[in-house]
């Protein structure tokens, strides 16, 4: 177990270094960083001085090492457009994105798993057919369209829920802000998290359904039935656990993409998260922000994958033996 975790950790570090290299080369090859930082009338001497001060004249490996060392300490330099440290910008935005992502992931799991179980066990019932058709909509409609549709219905027509922003937030500690503790914060979460989580919910539901159909045909379910176990025990204790392995894989990857690609939803709902920041950075060629976003996203994916691998171990005893 420990050896396995260690091996995975080393692999994760390698992936992170590769991503850092890509992020680093953005600085070098997408325009001259000095040009981005100074005005037109700055003299050549001043530029040279700045170049020297930023260490851009050092050999490449040294620069890369410095970049990695700084990145490891969450120092991504200064944003071109905001003239503020990138780390501060992200620190302000991360809570918003993480809260939104976790709410929508939770929504996707809590709705998707029971619906999937139901649809797998009662294939013919009208309710499962309804689930399937509705989920088809969830998969085929683009996110921004669902968002706009929800805004139109619940904010404009019914006026139940706010159409943009996070509502009132409460500060916890020096850098985390939460919308979970106020009514308006919670209300503001509902529409964006449904918009963001609908696709994942559909995916999880369909996956659980397909796996469930597969598992209930297996011999051990037949044997469990022949031993006189109750349906509840068969479905929840034996079948569900066996369906979970692929579900964990997909959920893990999807959680990563929820966090990383909340951009569209954040734009539609003007959610003050990382996605919005990233979009602004792209529009203004704000390379430090883009690089930081790239590294952060990669870090999220790598750590989620790492957790998923460890979860496999806990669920499937067969893996423990193979690796031990």
């Amino acid at each position: 177990m420990l050896g396995f975790a260690l091996r995975r950790f080393v692999q994760a570090v390698i992936v992170m270094l590769a991503v850092a290299l890509i992020a680093f080369s953005m600085f070098r090859f997408v325009g001259d960083p000095v040009n981005q930082m100074v005005g037109m009338e700055t003299s050549i001497e001043a530029r040279e001085a700045l170049r020297e001060r930023l260490g851009l004249n050092d050999p490449l490996p040294l620069q890369f090492t410095r970049f990695v060392t700084n990145a490891a300490q969450f120092d991504f330099g200064t944003s071109y457009q905001f003239r503020q440290p990138v780390a501060d910008l992200f620190a302000k935005r991360i809570p918003a994105t993480l809260e939104l992502s976790f709410t929508s992931a939770l929504f996707a799991l809590l709705a998707g798993i029971p619906m999937g179980i139901y649809a797998g066990l009662n294939r013919e019932s009208w309710l499962s057919k309804l689930f399937l058709s509705v989920s088809l909509i969830g998969i085929s409609l683009p996110t921004f369209f669902i968002g706009i549709l929800l805004i139109f219905l619940f904010s404009v027509t019914l006026q139940w829920l706010p159409s943009f922003g996070r509502g009132d937030v409460v500060e916890i500690g020096s850098w985390w802000t939460t919308g979970f503790l106020t009514v308006s914060g919670l209300k503001a979460l509902i529409l964006p998290s449904i918009t963001l989580g609908l696709y994942q919910m559909t995916l999880i539901m369909r996956l659980i359904r397909a796996e469930m159909l597969e598992v209930i045909r297996t011999d051990y379910i037949k044997f469990a039935r022949a031993r006189g176990l109750s349906n509840r025990a068969i479905y929840l204790r034996h079948a569900l656990k066996n369906t979970l392995i692929p579900v964990i894989t997909i959920t893990g990857l999807q959680l990563g993409s929820i966090i990383a690609f909340a951009t569209i939803t954040e734009t539609v709902f003007q959610w003050p998260g990382m996605g919005l920041l990233f979009l602004q950075a792209v529009q203004n060629v704000d390379i430090p922000v883009m690089a930081a976003y790239l590294i952060l996203t990669a870090f999220l994916f790598v750590s989620i994958n790492f957790i998923v691998d460890i979860l496999y171990f806990l669920i499937d005893p067969r893996l423990r033996v193979k690796q031990a």
Binding site: Y220, A226, R227, K241, N242
Partner: protein, 571 residues
């Protein structure tokens, strides 16, 4: 009163177009402490009877007539809730494949305790105590330690013991065992049969054993019911039914069982059962494509010669050589196969016999030793052209007829593929003609070429495999358990076909099987393998009459006794 009595049971599966009658008008009784065998070939409805008794018929099957009584209580019309209380409590069931009957993610203890507590009012600690007793009763050594293990930590035979323990959880009066030993090796099979017999006598349980294996019937049962296409054709004491069968089907079924005790030239043609095979028109080999280029340069010495062949698989890879773990599947095996003979390779699972087949055909590359075919060292061949030429001369027939044919290709395309690959015919028209002739020759009829593999039964698919193997005009055929997935009557047909083809075409065959009776009927010389090593190599008859190696003797004693069958086959 009988523990189980089935009266005029009929089970139907209504379909969209027509209703399929799986079981028709079957009546049986079973007493406490007795074992009843239900025997028949696939599709005979024997499993359906078992499923009907325990109330687990597959949708949309239902009992349309007759009744099932357990100790006099009628159970076929019980509502699902009361039926569930019956299952496990009064009727236990054992399934065929121990590898798949246990939940892989739960410990043995969890599964046993769960089942015990569903049926008996015991505390978790008491249930655990009972689970331990059961594991001891089914003969699992070190039961205390093994209780907390997962199914994958048990071997096949041990898992089947766990399955039996699970079936015994609540002391049922009736146990239904559906092919309980089919997935096991002979030595394990003998142990499990012993265990079942002992449990049945000691606990006074009535047992219904569903099997296609006449050997199991002869070994285990007191009474036997023979089923054919849903109907019960014969029922009586085992000795009488096997020794003096009265029904024509029983007679033909018994005659198709390969004899381990004497060698017969051909398997008796089973008159009662026919697969729909159009009569094949004989092709004249002296003029036909298939007979051409038989003129291989004759070899001096053996056709195939293995010397010190070894195969080692890495089971754990590591950067550090000292931490790598290996499994030696084949350990320095040497033998020769002479031109024109059928060489048998026999052994239990894991003995390395299939690995040897794959090494010879080039699917694996050996880690040591050499394979010489017609004087050429196959392991030294480097050029693709040479390798292809060698491959053309050797073909393989696989065990599982369901997965060895590409389901998306038409049969004609499957058979034509090797001809095209090796450019053995000059035109498409010629290829088509050869394919038609081949299919006809293996007894499928040329029309079979337009169909897809799923339209054929297991035996017919195996014929397609044979036609495909012949399509390169091979000299050497490797048959890896070619009939172990087939019913006995179909097995007899396929084995006869292989014998015929061998004689006509002068083929040399490597015949791999775990079934000693089949080996005796097919082979000229036999090699016995165990744990990757060659134990004994002898003349086929010599091996059976005076085995030299202790392991061979052990294998021979483990063969289910066929004395009863022998009597009826002679008579």
């Amino acid at each position: 009163m009988s523990v189980l009595s089935i009266n005029n049971l009929t089970v139907r599966f209504p379909g969209r177009k027509s209703t399929f009658t799986a079981v028709e008008d079957v009546s049986l009784t079973l007493e406490a402490g007795k074992i009843l065998g239900v025997v028949g070939e696939s599709g005979a409805g024997k499993s359906t009877v078992g499923n009907a008794v325990i109330g687990l018929l597959q949708e949309p099957g239902r009992i349309t007539a007759g009744e099932i009584r357990l100790d006099g209580d009628r159970i076929d019309q019980m509502p699902e809730a009361s039926l569930r209380k019956l299952r496990g409590k009064r009727i236990g069931m054992i399934f065929q494949d121990p590898l798949t009957s246990l939940d892989p993610l739960q410990t043995i203890e969890a599964q046993l305790v769960e089942t015990i507590r569903v049926h008996l009012p015991l505390s978790p600690a008491q249930a655990r105590e009972r689970a331990l007793e059961l594991l001891k009763a089914v003969g699992i050594p070190g039961a205390e330690d093994r209780l907390s293990q997962y199914p994958h930590q048990f071997s096949g035979g041990m898992r089947q013991r766990v399955v039996i323990a699970l079936a015994l959880c609540a002391e049922p009066e009736l146990i239904i065992a559906d092919e309980p030993t089919t997935a096991l090796d002979v030595s394990i099979q003998a142990q499990i049969l012993d265990l079942l017999r002992k449990l049945c006598r000691e606990r006074n349980v009535a047992m219904m054993v569903i099997t296609h294996d006449m050997g199991v019937i002869a070994e285990l049962t007191d009474q036997v019911a023979v089923m054919y296409r849903g109907k019960l054709v014969e029922l009586g004491p085992t000795a009488q039914v096997l020794g003096h069968p009265s029904h024509a089907y029983t007679k033909s079924l018994i005659s198709a069982v390969p004899r381990p005790d004497i060698k017969v030239e051909r398997f008796p043609s089973v008159s009662y059962i026919e697969e729909e095979t159009p009569p094949s028109s004989a092709i004249d080999l002296s003029t036909h494509w298939l007979g051409k280029t038989r003129s291989h340069e004759p070899v001096t010495g053996p056709l195939l010669s293995l010397s010190d062949l070894s195969m080692r698989f890495e089971t754990r890879s590591s950067v550090f050589p000292s931490r790598r773990r290996y499994f030696d599947a084949v350990k320095s095996v040497s033998f020769d196969i002479r031109e024109g003979e059928t060489f048998g390779l026999v052994g239990e699972s894991g003995s390395g016999k299939s690995t040897i087949a794959r090494l010879i055909t080039g699917l694996y590359h050996p880690t040591g030793g050499s394979i010489r075919f017609a004087g050429q060292d196959l392991t030294a061949l480097k050029e693709r052209k040479q390798i292809l030429a060698m491959r053309r001369q050797m073909q393989m027939i696989f065990q599982d007829p369901f997965s060895s044919l590409n389901a998306r290709m038409r049969v004609s395309a499957i058979v034509a593929e090797p001809i095209r690959l090796h450019r053995l015919a000059s035109s498409n028209a010629e290829v088509a003609q050869i394919v038609a002739d081949l299919l006809d020759h293996v007894g499928l009829g040329a029309a079979a070429g337009d169909k897809f593999p799923h339209e054929f039964s297991g035996g017919q698919r195996q014929r397609i495999s044979i036609a495909r193997a012949l399509a390169t005009r091979p000299r050497f055929l490797v048959c890896d358990e070619p009939t172990s997935a087939l019913d006995v009557s179909i097995q007899a047909q396929i084995l006869n076909l292989l014998k015929d083809l061998q004689q006509e075409l002068g083929l040399t065959m490597l015949f791999i099987s775990h079934d000693l009776a089949v080996i005796r009927q097919m082979c000229d010389r036999v090699a016995v393998m165990r744990n990757g090593e060659l134990c004994e190599l002898a003349d086929c008859e010599g091996l059976f009459t005076s085995p030299g190696h202790a392991y061979t003797r052990q294998l021979l004693t483990l063969m289910p006794s066929m004395e009863l069958l022998a009597a009826s086959q002679q008579g």
